[in-house]
């Protein structure tokens, strides 16, 4: 394959290689590599899996096997600019988490796992986010939103829609 067809650029490859000294096996760098690619591209397409496998001296099937186990990595297309995780586990659910998720589905016109047509927001349900003392809680990319209500969710969505992006 020629260099121009490569999906992972040199910088990303260097970052992945930088993980290797931490572990006695190359395979152990699989999750760190997937995270690095996901942070850069917003997803981990099959071509990236092939290139990660090359870097870690694994079969693409091994990387794909690992990737497919974890709910976090998207493969078909990049997640939206904002990935909105609404907790539906018990502590949030008893304080209105499920209603918030339903409200967001209706407001954004998507189901959990889908991205809005403008590519801004990917809505996701989350299992316990460990924010039970702030239930119901929502995680937007790496930002925690505590004690949410429908009104606060509406304000949040407006901010995400107006902002040029993270």
């Amino acid at each position: 394959m020629s260099l121009t067809e490569r999906l992972l650029n040199d910088d990303l490859r260097r970052q992945i290689a930088g993980q290797l000294p931490r572990y006695p096996t190359k395979q152990a760098a699989t999750l760190p590599a997937l995270h690095l690619v996901n942070e850069r591209l917003g997803y981990v397409p099959p071509q990236a899996v092939i290139e990660i496998a090359e870097l870690l001296e694994l079969s693409p099937a091994q990387v794909q096997d690992t990737l497919s186990f974890y709910g976090f990595f998207k493969q078909d297309k990049p997640a939206g600019q904002y990935r909105v995780w609404v907790c539906r586990s018990i502590s949030c659910a008893v304080r209105g988490g499920e209603e918030l998720l339903q409200h967001l589905c209706e407001k954004l016109g998507v189901r959990p796992g889908e991205t809005t047509a403008d590519g801004r927001i990917t809505l996701e349900f989350a299992e316990c986010l460990g924010l039970c003392d702030f239930a119901p809680a929502i995680l937007v990319n790496d930002t925690v939103h505590r004690n949410m209500t429908k009104e606060k969710v509406d304000v949040l969505v407006n901010t995400l829609t107006d902002n040029p992006g993270p």
Binding site: Y23, H35, L56, G71, G130
Partner: protein, 450 residues
């Protein structure tokens, strides 16, 4: 009750997450002393004598776990910090790593010294972004101060600590699932034996300890065994195998309570005390119906059982799985137990790794049945079918590799056995024609959308 917090002593200070503040409160003095005065063997003996039991859920004696490591085996020993906190209702490790990461880190360094580990991996769930930032900053500060790296504080002891991020799978909190995940594979728990102490990460002797456990190690070093054993519940005199429940404990409180949050006390305070004194009572002036005593897996305690002490033994005496994480979720008198059980089974079905058939199929079918009951197509015999699942999946009945299925089973068993009347009333009311049916019925998938 007067209690001077130890685990949470630092967190209200400005910049509590920095080394400067931690050291101003006496931090890393214990590490300096241990490296000069104690051998690893002394330290294992000390932790054994303290009676410290793992705070992650299973309550296994920490010193005993360490003593299972083979002695004089050439090659590395690995240390894993279980910071994958994903048990629904549980969040106290997050608070510790965000607000006092150095306390955790001193515990890690001390524990690695005791177990002769030269590499530690902090397996951290990816959703804990602030924890990652604070823990990494603390690790960097420790390298700069000579608390990590080669020849720590001039001793023979060297240690590297790395953060390894998860990717959203509850089963990674199971110690062998965590190990598989760290090695770069799907987090399928391993059949034991061999136990990790003999053959764990990278097929080497390995210790996996929870964040709060490690913070306790630091305080046992600072304050000694008599201090640690001065609080908690002594062993039951009639049970020679009970090691007792000693030391301070973090308690979480969430759900239908006036003041959700995290609190510290000795092991063994009662649910009632926690909800009333710490949590300011049930919200909206209501009464409580039940609580989850220590993370969803531990099952349900009904209101009549609220005087049960939260120690390692007492929750089992009222039919719960155990103390778990001592993170209590409160349900008020209006909350339907059917909704609780549906939420619980949906969680475990989603998080079952799929390796063992009883767990994969059992949790899935429990959700299907509960959804059908919710939609008014329930039959009284469904409750017996659910109990059959609850009684047959898990490592306690012996049908699965790991304890995830026991965690799925306990809410089923407790909810139906303790609140059967409520379930029966719902089924009779919503399905007056069919509640007595016993012949097979349509699966929920064919009922269409709600």
């Amino acid at each position: 009750m007067h209690y001077e917090p130890v685990l949470l002593a630092n967190i209200h200070k400005q910049q509590s997450h920095t080394r400067a503040i931690y050291e101003a409160g006496g931090g890393y003095r214990g590490l300096r002393r241990v490296l000069k005065e104690m051998s690893p063997k002394d330290m294992v003996g000390l932790i054994k004598a303290s009676g410290l039991r793992g705070r992650g859920g299973a309550g296994f004696p920490t010193g005993l776990k360490w003593s299972f490591l083979p002695e004089n085996l050439p090659g590395p020993v690995y240390f894993c910090v279980n910071a994958d906190e994903s048990e629904p209702g549980t969040f106290v490790n997050r608070v510790q790593m965000e607000l006092d990461p150095h306390q955790v880190l001193e515990g890690i360094i001390l524990s690695c010294y005791a177990t002769r580990a030269s590499t530690a991996y902090v397996y951290l769930r990816y959703e804990y972004y602030l924890c990652r930032e604070r823990m990494q900053a603390a690790i960097d500060e420790c390298y700069a101060a000579g608390y990590l790296g080669k020849n720590i504080l001039g001793s023979e002891f060297s240690l590297d600590v790395f953060i390894h991020r998860g990717a959203g799978a509850y089963v990674c909190g199971e110690e062998t699932g965590l190990i598989e995940s760290l090695e770069g594979r799907r987090a399928w728990p391993r059949i034991k034996p061999p136990f990790p102490a003999v053959e764990g990460l990278f097929r080497r002797p390995t210790v996996v300890n929870n964040v709060e456990t490690l913070a306790c190690v630091k305080h046992i070093i600072d304050r000694g065994v008599p201090w640690f054993r001065s609080m908690g519940t002594p062993p039951e005199p009639n049970n020679p195998r009970d090691p007792g429940s000693f030391g301070p404990k973090l308690y979480g409180l969430s759900g239908h309570v006036n003041h959700p949050g995290f609190y510290e006390g000795p092991l063994g305070i009662s649910v009632r005390q926690l909800v009333e004194e710490f949590g300011g009572g049930v919200w909206k002036g209501r009464r409580a119906k039940a609580v989850v005593p220590g993370g969803l897996s531990t099952g349900l305690m009904s209101e009549s059982e609220f005087d049960t002490p939260l120690d390692f033994s007492a929750p089992m005496r009222v039919g719960c799985l155990g103390l778990g994480t001592a993170c209590v979720v409160v349900f008020d008198e209006t909350y339907p137990m059917l909704d609780f059980l549906y939420n619980s089974c949906r969680f475990f079905a989603h998080e079952s790794c799929g390796q063992c058939t009883p767990c994969r199929e059992g949790t899935h079918w429990a959700v299907q049945m509960l959804e059908r009951i919710k939609r008014g197509r329930g039959r009284l015999v469904d409750l017996d079918l659910l109990l059959e699942i609850g009684d047959s999946i898990g490592i306690i009945p012996g049908s699965t590799i790991c304890g995830l299925a026991d965690g799925a089973a306990w809410p089923i068993k407790n909810a139906i056995r303790k609140f059967r009347g409520e379930f029966e009333e719902h089924i009779r009311r919503t399905n007056p024609q069919g509640y007595m049916q016993t012949e097979p019925v349509e699966a929920v998938a064919s009922l269409g959308a709600v």
